[in-house]
Amino acid sequence: MKVRFTVNDKPVSAEVEPRTTLSLCLRDHLRLTGTHVGCEHGVCGACTVIIDGEAVRSCLTLAVQVEGRSITTVEGLAHGEDLSPLQASFRRHNALQCGFCTPGMLTTAHALLTEEPHADEARVREVLSGNLCRCTGYIPIVHAVLDARVAYGGPAWTGEAHAHHGDGEQR
């Protein structure tokens, strides 16, 4: 069956089966492979996309459910070749290592900050707790999201960025 929707401001259509998940439709039918599938049971959050402003697990959503809806994936967060302020903040804070969970972290955080640019650390941690990361220990991700709030009209971050080096010079 045919499904029509908008992805990253572009109208698209795909021929899918009723059982085709949105994640599969995005990745295989539309070749938008930035959306990653980490568990297929809604726990890890890697496949999170934004549907009409709301962060949603694309592995638990059927493609046919998004008929007429507007979807943003990680590929649509930046305009042109520049990184978005959130992406640039992730890079600055070393908030990714292997990068597999990153698309879901970015879409979740983007949806949060768009709605709640003043989200505090506890709120950011709470919202990100549905996204698993095995590399970073989450601390740099939380810092990156807090530091990106200003680009969404929220407060500037005053936390210390990289106080991690024991001594400036070799002895």
Binding site: E40, R125, Y138, H164
Partner: protein
Amino acid sequence: MGERAPDLLPESAADGRPFVGRPVQRVEDLRLLRGRGRYADDVALPGMLHAAMLRSSVAHARLRGIDASAALALPGVHAVITGADVARACGGAVPRVPLRLQPLECMEPYRQPAIVADRVRHVGEVLAVVVADSLAIAEDALERIEVDLETLPAVADWRSADSGDCLLFDGTQTNRGVTFRATRGDAAAAFASAAHVQRERFSMQRQAPVTMEARGVVAEWLADGERIVVHGAAKVPFFNRRACASMLGIDASKMDFLEGDTGGSFGARGEFYVEDFLVPFAARHLGRTIKWISDRREDLMTMAQSRESEAELEMAFAADGTILGVRGTAWCDLGAYPRTNGLIQPRNIPQFLTGPYRIAAVDIASHVLFTNKGPAGTYRAPGRFETALFCERLLERGAQALGLDPVQVRRRNLLTAADMPWHFADCSPSAPPSSGQTETDSGDYLELYERCLAEFDWVARQARQGRQPDGRYHGIGSACFIEGGAAGPRENARIELAGDGRIRLIVGSTSVGQGLETSLGQIAADALGVPMSAIDMLHGSTNLLAEGFGSYHSRSTVMGGSAIVDAAGKFKAALRELAATYLECLPEQVELAGTEARSPRGRAMSFAELARHESIGVDGSFANHHHTYAYGAACAHVAVDPRTGHVELLDYLVVEDVGRAINPLLVHGQLIGGTVQGMGGVCLEQMVYDGDGQMLTGTLADYLLPTSTDYPRIRGLTFEAYPSPINPIGAKGAGEGGTIVVGAVMVNAIAAALREFGVNPVSLPLSPSRLWETIEAARSTVK
């Protein structure tokens, strides 16, 4: 103090400051942040078919037959491949997975067959491979396959395995595959002269590495030349190509293993698994390109599990707290097969139990036992996470028994610069290139422990322990560690001047998500005296170099980086030689400035101009038979609620000296990330198998990983006081240290918090329910 490593290079980056040592933002991020990475499942090739694995639902059985006729009748199914098919095509027997590390001859009967031929040994073992037009059809077909299994009693724990009542492998007399023994000095004499002997029995649960990207393989069949290109390779592509080609009975030159982006390794992803043979086998069988991607349940069942062990150990002390010796026995449950690197945890336990301490007498045996559970391999800090906990708990309890402050006992026994190099206990048996002998390279472990205590404000916090008004109990703990790195035998790098004047750098190290392109790019840019942007880096894949060794044992920066430094020296010599001809001067008179060559008389040619005359390609290498030893310490401050068993981490500090931090941003990320990963193993994670060998933790809702709300307060500090004298960069392998020490420091902190209950945490995980039970048991004993 400390010796300074030789300078990396006289010339530095274009702006005059070297890249090495700077927190350069990662090159990789530009693609990964925009969804442009290329992971295994992102590979889509024309005409590609899809594979699904039929896996055993029982742990131990004899296979009597497989009837695939109904599956084959399903439209869209191309093949159902069974063990009989594989045996027929491979000279009569199903090929078996080789051991990559410690390939001991005694492991021969225990090696894993690529597919079940006659006997199932764990839940999840592959019985058949279905290949179909789509994954959905392949999965539908799995349900139509009839399997006739004669169920056998499962050997679900190491004790039943050790009893030998049920032998898992024909032609063997025992399920005990091998016993490693580490010895140093005269342990019997040390214990005979001891003022106090501390004895403990420890147990460690089975854990899963859980890379966020599950495993996957795309085997591309090239009819022209009958070649197979395997996409989705990681970690050790050159070894994996050799293994696969040998199992297929073809020449390695008929295959390539290509590395893309890798969603984490932690020691497990990228090792050679049976699917890495079965998918290329199916591709050749059908003459088609085939994709297989593991789902999460398959991944939990089949990616190498690790850590499950028990140990009965004793530590001998003099009255002043000097540790005289350690001895005892460990039993490691490796599950069904030894896997490519499964012997590393059991062999590391006896050798590295002494950690950073000056312990002269050692006698420890470590038994490898096979059971009907998922096969084990390495997981970040193999054998080191375990032994740090064992050693530190023995030390802490021994000190208390002697009426001494455990901090003082650490101070008395930590290795200092005057002790270097310190020889660890020799471990045998050992298969080449490992000799079973190793020694520290440099450092002052005591000095860094003191620094950790000072940064943590240890003395002031001591007063704040015990019961608080909210009913919780505070405690602080500390522990020290060493981290081995830089495994040999060697690594290779090649540097080329491309036709457009750009520099092409190829290295045999692989990227497993650690920022390799950035850190090695920094080393290369400094070594060549050019900006990082002038270099295009390629790595890992077998079509790039004749030989590469990849990323394991925290080796890629030291080994790959040192090979790059070697190649860069040769490349600059070749550039001077070439430029001299056109600049009309002697090669040694040529000055290389950025991407330009200049003569003494002021003539200059850009690399691009030189490249028009001639191309350059040089090979560099770095061989090493010694290991680097980064080292450090950690302190934790916890609050434990005895009513629920919940542990809140109030503060945590980990410090590590890595010799030289190529990129402090990346090293720090490894330290913090490794700590949280280890914290999961302390408090949350456990692969549970029942008495029938059934895996009960088959989803990420059952196997609990740390989330963003669990451990918000973790600090790390990196030091570079003692560069490694055994490589030109001065770096020591790092990235596992945070994980190694976390179990040790957490049990010490929790024990300190619960001191008045007499709780002695000696088995993991310390989940709330387990800890609550321990507290209750201790309370009833006190009453």
